[in-house]
Symmetry: C2
Subunit: 218 residues, 2 copies
DNA sequence: ACCTGAACACCGTTCAAGT
DNA sequence: ACCTGAACACCGTTCAAGT
């Protein structure tokens, strides 16, 4: 058997992380096991631990890698508002395509993904003239809203090729909401009728604009 | 050995769920195993499956139970804005005390926890005169913001008796942010200096008010 | 220094057997 | 109808042994 440590494609943290992302994209979080990863990398499961501390760090590193790529691809915009909308939509689409990353964004705010996102939200607000506590609190509000939608999206089946699964999912939720008591749940029952053909992306942007309008109104 | 199925405290879904919440509150999500749960309930691990489909349903049922209790305790308020603030803060404090429930809120929007929350947000907006798409989108924005903060809180160590752990956590995040490049991260570095003594609860309310102001400005 | 892969401790879940 | 608890299939992680 050829010694692995002399191959040109030797193990490295980057190669491990990229392979992990492939497994996550293909089969979701359940598909990422050290055994599957080792098999794909043609190595022993223990070898991975030489480069990565544990599974928690592996998932965090995969998220950092993904977000860094997304953020690097975001183009500059003319206005601060447009810049915030563009970054927000880029994140929305990234979680749409890689739903496993949604819950990860909540984990460790010190890691690289979080500062990358936070800077892209806060810098435009500075350009708008915000500062001090208002700046910090406004940026945090936008960040939390974006993460909240990301987390929700990660739970929904959105990345199906055809729209059938998504329709079925929304239809099931709407049906459950319509079964609620009309006296106790007037709003939710009305919302149920709007569920099936609502545009997630437009609704997401509406919320961004709501927060931006709130900032402008101060 | 006395037969279990004749005791007055026989197994029931409610007793299982309440015991599960005790384990979750005491030791976090890792402490909830079917073996630990069965030991605490003085039964076999398989007996639980007679009442609960699987672990996913157990966690969802625990969350529903928790949120139902929280929502039942929320008092009515004079104005729609006050009602929304009160519900939001009640959820904030509930996740603060039971951080394991944060990620669960993202799971299944059809379950009872989600409609309970959504109704309490949407009904006051209806009272404000909102309707149609604007009503649905505005309520969704508030919901996503609240869930985003809840998810973030669940990841942070907040429920420690003394403030030492929280201080250490925020200090560590701030230190990591201060190590970033000054040219590339002007905002994040400034935010780092505000991290240690910021008031999570006040910042959360600031975001709620920002969205409410955005709604009012439309 | 880096890799191998068996072994360990632990899960969720099932199911034949009991009462 | 409900409970028991061993058994199964599967994890993450460790570590003595290799190169």
């Amino acid at each position: 058997m050829a010694p692995r440590n002399q191959r040109s494609d030797a193990l490295s943290k980057e190669r491990i992380v990229e392979t992990a992302i492939e497994l996550l994209d293909t089969g979701g979080e359940a598909a990422l096991t050290f055994r599957a990863l080792a098999a794909r990398l043609e190595t022993g499961s223990g070898a991975i631990y030489w480069h990565i501390a544990d599974k928690s760090e592996l998932l965090a590193a995969a998220t950092d890698h993904l977000i860094a790529g997304v953020m690097a691809g975001v183009v500059d915009e003319a206005t601060p508002q447009a810049a915030i909308r563009t970054v927000a939509l880029a994140l929305f689409d990234a979680i749409d395509a890689h739903p496993w990353a949604g819950p990860q964004l909540f984990r460790d705010p010190g890691r690289s993904a979080m500062p990358l996102i936070f800077e892209r939200i806060g810098a435009p607000l500075m350009a708008l003239g915000l500062g001090g506590q208002t700046l910090f609190d406004s940026a945090s509000a936008l960040l939390h809203y974006i993460l909240g939608v990301a987390g929700q999206n990660a739970a929904n089946p959105r990345l199906v090729p055809d729209e059938a699964d998504r329709e079925a999912f929304l239809g099931r939720v709407a049906a459950q909401w319509l079964q609620l008591d009309a006296q106790a749940f007037p709003f939710v029952r009305q919302a149920a009728t709007q569920m099936r053909d609502h545009d997630d992306r437009a609704q997401f942007l509406f919320g961004i604009d709501l927060i931006l309008a709130g900032i402008a109104a101060r």
